[in-house]
Assembly symmetry: C2
Homo-oligomer: 290 residues x 2
Amino acid sequence: MTSFADQLTERIATLGNPTVVGLDPRLPQIPEFIRKKAKSPAEAVVIFNRGIIDAIADLVPAVKPQIAFYECLGPEGLQAYAETVKYAKSKGLLVIGDVKRSDIGSTAEAYAQAHLDPASALAADAITVVPFFGGDGIRPFTEMAHKHGKGVFVMVRSSNPSADEIQGQTLGDHLMDEHIATLVEGWGRDYIGKSGFSLVGAVVGATYPEEARVLRNLLPNQIFLVPGYGAQGGTAEDVKPCFHANGTGAIVNSSRGIIFAYEKDGKPEAYAEAARTAALAMKKELEALF
Amino acid sequence: MTSFADQLTERIATLGNPTVVGLDPRLPQIPEFIRKKAKSPAEAVVIFNRGIIDAIADLVPAVKPQIAFYECLGPEGLQAYAETVKYAKSKGLLVIGDVKRSDIGSTAEAYAQAHLDPASALAADAITVVPFFGGDGIRPFTEMAHKHGKGVFVMVRSSNPSADEIQGQTLGDHLMDEHIATLVEGWGRDYIGKSGFSLVGAVVGATYPEEARVLRNLLPNQIFLVPGYGAQGGTAEDVKPCFHANGTGAIVNSSRGIIFAYEKDGKPEAYAEAARTAALAMKKELEALF
């Protein structure tokens, strides 16, 4: 079984594109013509996502549905999440479920089953998790991922303004996120694939480039999943420190900037083409870095 | 609108019982006769939970479904979660959704809508959240809770062995969980009800009684939701520091110890009666404290 890190690394190299498209289908931003023809908000989400996926599947290695935007539609929304995951996989995309789950070990086992066990309708190829509970809350995810060729991205530094309130606190001579990085390195050490990357990756926000430089050094074998590009203010120059010098080791997410790109030119019927154009533009911006 | 903290405080006083029953329906532990008659695992969960709820609704102020044990059954499991929440409310119980959600602000808004907006099928009376992202990831939850008379319990100290790996790290002269406590106090300051408690509570594990003493002093206006009692090793004596000296300000959870109490005497048909007996025994243990 090829590890998730190896699969992702290979797809990035083949496509020459380290972009992940965030599927955050905020209902009010889904074009009205779709919401009108759909029988339910959940169906509108599925129709919208299919259009985006068809438009970008040959361009990017992965998509990242943010489960909160499905959960807010109730159980039907979770069904739409499951259908989105399935459809994206059928188009050859890797799917990173942005679920940010975390709990004590016995509960984390149930979350791992929900999101990483291939028998589950909600199972993605990799998920995001939060390290707040320490190692025994992470192990069920990494073990399940190892068993099924899946991946886990642990939150190390989030992209939001108040990230410093916990992640940026000082422990002696280093910051909390650097301490978390050393934990993540340990959690991933036994799971390094042929690509040199572990199935345990790290989430590092585009909005803290100085900190990203430090974290990159602490985590040589981690793929960085980088949120915060575009709508949140991160630029191509900002994400550069998340990559190794040879241009590998990171995947940069854009959600609103791609899937709702149509809002700029005001042609909702052409939302999928607008998404493709935005994805191509982002590819160019990232290509220019290395 | 009565605030959640006031509602909970009143129900605890009326029943003379600060117990919350954790509805963690681990499938293999649901009696076989239920799993056989149910058409699906999700239906077995609903039948099992109804039996428990009927048996304890007049004894305890609240139940706490752990969403991970529903999520692992896929979208149908989330439907079972929604039905459980609805049924428990119909029996007069307050429902604390143990969802431990967390993300950056714009995503936390969607989670708040999912779990605290009365229009959502998944909405409980209060939920647990994780403070990893700092204040802008918490505010959407507290604002939604304030708007709808709901509550939020922020993780401060979890009950698991590896909690120290992050929460127990030293920042100058205090621990990370104490730093989080000062944040939680700030997040809850504007939302203190007639009972003297804020809609923003704190999760403090029964397994760290020394730390609970410190946190209790830092958080005079927070109701503590206390996991880790019973199956995880916490005793009545261990939870005592989570209460104020007058016996108010905390609610103690037991999940496995109550809902699967039948396993001790081996009579699965009488699982509901066994749960009631275990809940009564726990009430007595806690009564003896004050």
